[in-house]
Amino acid sequence: MAEVEIHAVSKAFGKTQALSDLSLTVGNGEFVALLGPTGAGKTTALRLIAGLEQPDEGSIRIDGRDVTGDAPADRDVAFVFQQYSLYPHLTVFDNMAFALRAPTRRVPEADIRAKVQEIARLLQIETKLNNKATQLSGGQMQRVAIGRALVRSPSIYLMDEPLSSLDAKLRGELRLELKRIQVELGATILYVTHDQTEAMTMASRIGVIEGGRLMQIGTPREIYENPINAHVAARLGQPVINLLPAALFAGAPTGAETIGARTEHLTIARGSGDVSATVKRVEHLGDQSHLHLDLAGRPVVTLADPEGGFGAGDVVSLRLNKPLFFDAKGWRVAA
């Protein structure tokens, strides 16, 4: 494992600027997630590190060595793609062992067997090792694809939305597993996702990326509690942060145009008050319930307290509790 340093990297495809001046260091043994929507430049960043693309500007160093001009094979990185590509004619075991059997590696067969079995156990596919890759469900195939990377000990694992094709239950299980495996192996991982839950639960640091630019990087708690602008604030948190005109509440600081209020910033009590709202509905999503309020014609959505007992039509009062403030351009204003 090693430190990976991306310095002032830019990349354009024709007229599309995919990445602009990206600088980012992934420390040895660190799990960094790049979080952003489709087209933000996340996957391009991974492909540049892997050597599948060449940057227009900037440099990439792995373990202190400049690899910007090196071929992918010389970089010692392992890539897990969103669309798993397994060898259909090989068994699960042979798929996982494939990279270790490369002639240049000369790994003894006994070591290969031990390593594949260890990783298969971690990923709960050890009973499938003799199956053909095509006899697996999608979730199992994706675990084999992850396993194929994990059997190696590269400088860095580059993972491009590896869990997105799995169902919710398996995704939840593998999130925990992947994090545990990463800690156990001391692995360095750069993980690309647009799923905030994956980023928050697994990453030691999250880089929020948008339009090819890194907007903010920090621990999940820093990004969530202390976003630099309204855009980053809206990227993390379920339900999405409520952005309300500052004039609706008293006490906003000078320059604040917008109040950002999450569930924990709002005290909701039965009956009317200085600021009152009406309960529109309680939405049950399975893992959580959302309380939908109408505040002077504006929707406000919070996480419903399971013991709250509010129902449609109830009038409630809203009080703010250290919310976030943003100026007219969306940048944070100190409270």
Binding site: T38, P220, H284
Partner: protein, 365 residues
């Protein structure tokens, strides 16, 4: 539009019993999800409703009429597949209009209906484009267009969003539900994704090993699971299960868990002493020093407003959802108790939920 009634449906492929006496009704205009893991029989059930498979036993009624042995083309239903097959040499307009052409509908009428379907799906601007250059979401909209243009009695959909990336899938979930609300067409939708089912369905039929385990509203499926399987399959993280041995009297208000009494919804049936399982959703676990279960914090998952705390106890690892404002140290000893009115109790051997006052709030129908 139509009511679909499935009665004691069975299907075997050789020695493999794929569907075992499945019964449920989809009322006119309802959106029903068949939900379960891969291999549970949900797609086979859907294909039997469509007429693409013949059942080994049982009856399928469309609006009261027995269609069990009718050919697929005689059933007036539209099927949307996961792998949407569009004709690559035709543009969007001709792809959507194709089923009408096959039915011999006039060009003018065809065009009117294609334009209407495109408007509903918000792809009017794509009508003259080639389908080969379209993004995944738009291709799926064209496939849907080909289904809705026929104005069938009902729609059958087999994981129609399965091939899309997560972001597009989330957007399409809301679009599909809105489309359903506009068209009011009876829909049976197969998925393995609980989030899709919870977000879209009026009712969910949860299947496992060929058996329909429960048919109910998303709310009831979550709050009042009929079996251990349903309780475990739905919810993220899933329900906690605490095994214990005990008996129950009708009217009992507590169970004996280890050395302590745990309040439960009032029991409505008696159970002889046997192996039972107490089921607790993570959001119904509370931290209190006087808690009836004690354990050690194994780890936390930060989710912003809330966090998931995993606690190692003598009943196994329990997960609790707690506000993030409270901090936990790994290794810290904590006490847990449970919100009594939300607890489920299951018979371990059969997996069946034992009837309690919890089930009395259920919405029937």
């Amino acid at each position: 539009m139509a009511q679909i009634r499935v009665e004691a449906l069975d299907k075997s492929f050789g020695s493999f019993h794929a569907v075992k006496s499945a019964s449920f009704t989809v009322e006119d205009g309802q959106f029903l999800c068949l939900l379960g893991p891969s291999g549970c029989g949900k797609t086979t059930t859907l294909r039997m409703i469509a007429g693409l498979e013949l059942p080994t036993a049982g009856t399928i009624r469309l609006d009261g009429e027995d269609v069990t042995m009718n050919r697929a083309s005689a059933r007036d239903i539209a099927f949307v597949f996961q792998l949407f097959a569009l004709y690559p040499h035709m543009n969007v307009r001709r792809n959507i209009g194709f089923p009408l052409k096959c039915e011999g509908i006039s060009a003018a009428e065809r065009d009117r209906r294609v334009v209407e379907a495109a408007r509903i799906l918000r792809i009017s601007h794509l009508l003259d484009r080639s389908v080969s250059g379209l993004a995944g979401g738009d291709r799926q909209r064209v496939a849907l267009g080909r289904a809705i243009v026929r104005k069938p009695k009902c729609f059958l959909m087999d994981e129609p969003l399965g091939a899309l990336d997560t972001e597009m899938r989330e957007a399409m979930i809301h679009e599909l539900r809105a489309l359903h609300d506009r068209l009011g067409a009876t829909t049976v939708y197969v998925t393995h994704d609980q989030l899709e089912a919870m977000a879209m369905a009026d009712r969910i039929a949860v299947m496992n090993n060929g058996v329909v385990e429960q048919v109910a509203s998303p709310r009831d499926i979550y709050d009042r699971p009929a079996s251990l399987f349903v309780a475990d399959f739905i919810g993220s993280p899933p329900m906690n299960f605490l095994p214990f041995r005990g008996g129950l009297q009708t009217g009992a208000e507590a169970i004996r868990l280890g050395e302590r009494d745990v309040a439960i919804p009032v029991a409505r049936e008696a159970m002889a002493e046997s192996e039972l399982v107490l089921g607790v959703r993570p959001e119904h676990v509370r931290f209190t020093d006087r808690g009836m279960v004690r354990g050690e914090v194994y780890g936390t998952e930060y989710l912003g407003t809330t966090q998931i705390v995993t606690v190692t106890t003598s009943y196994g690892a329990l997960k609790a959802r707690s506000p993030s404002s409270r901090s936990f140290r790994t290794g810290e000893t904590v006490g847990l108790d449970f919100r009594p009115d939300t607890l489920s109790i299951f018979e371990k051997a059969s997996g069946r939920a034992i009837r309690t006052a919890l089930h009395e709030g259920a919405a029937h129908g």
